[in-house]
Symmetry: C2
Amino acid sequence: MLKLFEYNWQVRDEWFDWCDSVSEAELLKKRTGGIGSILPTLYHIVAVEYGWICGGIQEKTIHIPPFEEVASVQRVKAFSASCHAELAPFVYAWNDSLEDRMMIDITDSGEREPHKYGEVMRHLIAHEIHHIGQLSVWAREIGRKPVTANLIGRGLFEIQ
Amino acid sequence: MLKLFEYNWQVRDEWFDWCDSVSEAELLKKRTGGIGSILPTLYHIVAVEYGWICGGIQEKTIHIPPFEEVASVQRVKAFSASCHAELAPFVYAWNDSLEDRMMIDITDSGEREPHKYGEVMRHLIAHEIHHIGQLSVWAREIGRKPVTANLIGRGLFEIQ
């Protein structure tokens, strides 16, 4: 579980670096599919991970700023770093005994939906990778090479 | 590990169904990013999973047909089903003792690269989700709703 989170965090940071070399206009331009533009997609990934882990599973009172309040690469990056600092201890402490614990999600329509922690964690892994796949298409649309999505070759697994 | 493979297989099958309602011209049309078109992306996902698990980890002699030989939805679907039948037993039998076992990958340039089984398996999970994210953008480009990428709500985790 942890390795796939580490993969996502590493890829996300590389996308922030990538954003530094692209104009703000391109990062905010309306595009087809997904969240509809590059920087809001990165914001959305951060907000969803933070919301489910700290707000949902840990039941903390959290504040997620609207995108308009963090609408620059530096601010989304800072938002990501602060969410990461708060949620990473939970991910690093993950163990199999947490798999079947239950959390309650209050849906947009006000319904209470129970989910296992293990389902939420895998949902977050897939959620980020999926949106990053969308960024890779948009990067090519503006003639830029996307961040590599390869998990192999990132040094996440030590070879003795 | 297994749950994320099951997620990918379920999503992949839904994309095959989705393809049935789209013209062959759209499925093969050249697009921006990734593998560059819809059906070849699904073929590529299948070939990569099969190649790494049955060819790489299991060291079987395998045959991966070139795309031109399976260039229809029905044939890529059949290719996927046959690869799945061959590789699924390995995935279902996965356990933590396999994490650090080593396999040797022969790269395109002929180099021998060692990888842990655990790294290969997570690479495959991320690989498929990433490419499916690209399909979701291309689906919107042709005015079609993509298959949902949500992992939550697919019945992969039983609630007692």
